[in-house]
């Protein structure tokens, strides 16, 4: 993961990965949602070249509300609210636009806005105020938005138990498939499990495939594998398993 600018480290020396790691830890252990979201905004400003950041979430009426910001600066809060009115949320076109990253406004109020969403359901928006956002910073900002979504989905904040349980169940199933594929790759190439997992991950990146989907292909032989995972001596994986 890249941090602010090209060196992966922000001006204060805090790598984005460290900030995101800290946030995950806090989100898991800390029960106060607001604290988690506020810290998230503060850390975003630490690692991104931004003057401010804020999180807007739909309330029960479907209106966007600022729930957290990187600071208590009235200007920042004003800009967040103003921004909320620039993009009213009651039309289908706006609903569609909400799912995309976009840039709104100019000057000091220029905001890069990232959807806070899970499975296409938009819960809110993460705004980063900056004149310019380096392409390398976009995935970092997206990660902050995704973290916000995860924090919002904590069970005590409204996600029903069965939904969460099913999500956990599916994650565990995926984990089992990946572990089996690690075993296959370890045996095939005389690697230790760590080395096998690294090879699987590298192949998934190269193939732009999901890790679980690729793992399933490795285990079942249901579809051709990339060269780095094929059985030595096989011209192409023949799916003989």
């Amino acid at each position: 993961m890249s941090g602010a600018g090209s060196d992966g480290v922000d001006a204060g020396g805090r790598p984005a990965a460290v900030a995101l790691g800290e946030l995950v830890r806090v989100a898991v252990r800390h029960r106060d949602l607001l604290d988690v979201l506020t810290l998230l905004c503060e850390r975003a400003v630490d690692v991104l070249p931004a003057a401010g950041a804020g999180l807007l979430v739909r309330d029960g009426d479907g209106r966007l509300r600022t729930v957290a910001a990187s600071g208590a600066d009235p200007d920042l809060l004003d800009r967040l609210e103003a921004h909320a009115t620039v993009r009213p949320d009651d039309g289908p076109a706006d609903r569609a636009a909400e799912r995309r990253t976009s840039v709104v406004g100019g000057g000091p109020g220029r905001a890069h806005t990232f959807p806070v969403a899970v499975d296409g359901t938009v819960m809110g928006r993460f705004d980063v105020f900056a004149a310019v956002l380096d392409p390398a910073d976009v995935p970092v900002a997206e990660a902050f938005a995704d973290l916000a979504a995860l924090a919002l989905l904590r069970p005590e904040d409204g996600v029903d138990g069965p939904t969460l349980a099913r999500r956990v169940h599916m994650a565990l199933e995926g984990r089992a498939v990946v572990a089996q594929a690690v075993g296959v790759v370890a045996q095939r190439f005389a690697l230790d499990p760590d080395g096998a997992l690294r090879r699987l991950r590298a192949a998934a990146r190269t193939e732009r495939a999901g890790l679980v989907a690729l793992a399933e292909a490795v285990v079942t032989g249901a579809r051709p594998l990339p060269a780095t995972l094929r059985r030595p001596g096989d011209a192409r994986d023949d799916g003989s398993r």
Binding site: P162, A179, Q180, G183, A186, Q187, V219, R241
Partner: protein, 236 residues
């Protein structure tokens, strides 16, 4: 699923494992938890799936599905995903032949869930009801969990490697179902290694590992760890 139900399930499974009827026990508990009239389990072994159920009707329904080659369980086995049919007689369900037979047996809706060991399909758990209508969210989730339990409990059946045989002494407290029902990563990694080494499927690899563990009177996890550490090589 309430905590009391889990405990009841654990007790039932433990009991049943002594009599060798793990599948029947899972099916009966599943029928109650899912508010189903019947629950059947089909295990894919050889040409014809072996079927157990919560009742004679559950067994008969599942056997008919595989005989006519049509029905939610057949779809689930073919595609490896849950198949939820809240109205079997609806044209959109696309199973007219089985729908007639099911209706004659008093079954209007059926929900099939794959039994998987990682990427390997072991069989199918199918809950059926006399009344049309969807499976609610809680039942759906419970069915997924029960299917996961059934998959692990049923693989290795016939070698007396049912529930509890691999439980490590002293580990039962926090996990009422016993360690045997939750395969750890190390078991899955070992399964993958054995599958690749012997050029067999992962389900068969797990059966081989369990058989070895039983024959050598060692916990499955220890055997799996030895395979991963390359201290143990199963023979063809």
């Amino acid at each position: 699923m309430a905590a009391g139900e889990w405990q009841r399930l654990a007790d039932l499974l433990r009991e049943a494992s002594e009599g060798g009827d793990v599948g029947g026990a899972v099916a009966r508990v599943a029928a109650r938890l899912l508010a189903a009239d019947d629950v059947g389990l089909a295990v894919l072994s050889g040409e014809v799936p072996s079927v157990v159920g919560s009742s004679d009707r559950a067994v008969a329904l599942l056997e008919r599905e595989f005989t006519v080659g049509e029905g939610p369980s057949v779809v689930t086995v073919r595609e490896g995903r849950p198949t939820l049919v809240e109205d079997l007689s609806a044209p959109a369900a696309g199973m007219p032949v089985f729908a007639v037979e099911a209706a004659a047996a008093g079954c209007a809706a059926a929900f099939a869930f794959p039994l998987r060991i990682g990427a390997g399909l072991v069989g199918v758990l199918t809950a059926s009801r006399a009344a049309r209508g969807p499976l609610d969210d809680v039942a759906h989730t419970d069915a997924l969990i029960l299917a996961a339990i059934a998959a692990v409990a049923l693989v290795g059946d016939g070698q007396r490697t049912g529930v509890g045989t691999d439980a490590t002494p002293g580990r039962g407290g926090a996990d009422p179902l016993g360690t045997d029902l939750v395969l750890g990563d190390v078991v899955h990694v070992a399964v993958g290694m054995v599958a690749e080494q012997l050029r067999i499927g992962v389900v068969e690899a797990l059966v081989r590992l369990r058989a070895f563990a039983f024959a050598s009177d060692r916990p499955l996890r220890d055997v799996a760890a030895a395979v991963v550490a390359r201290e143990l090589l199963l023979e063809r």
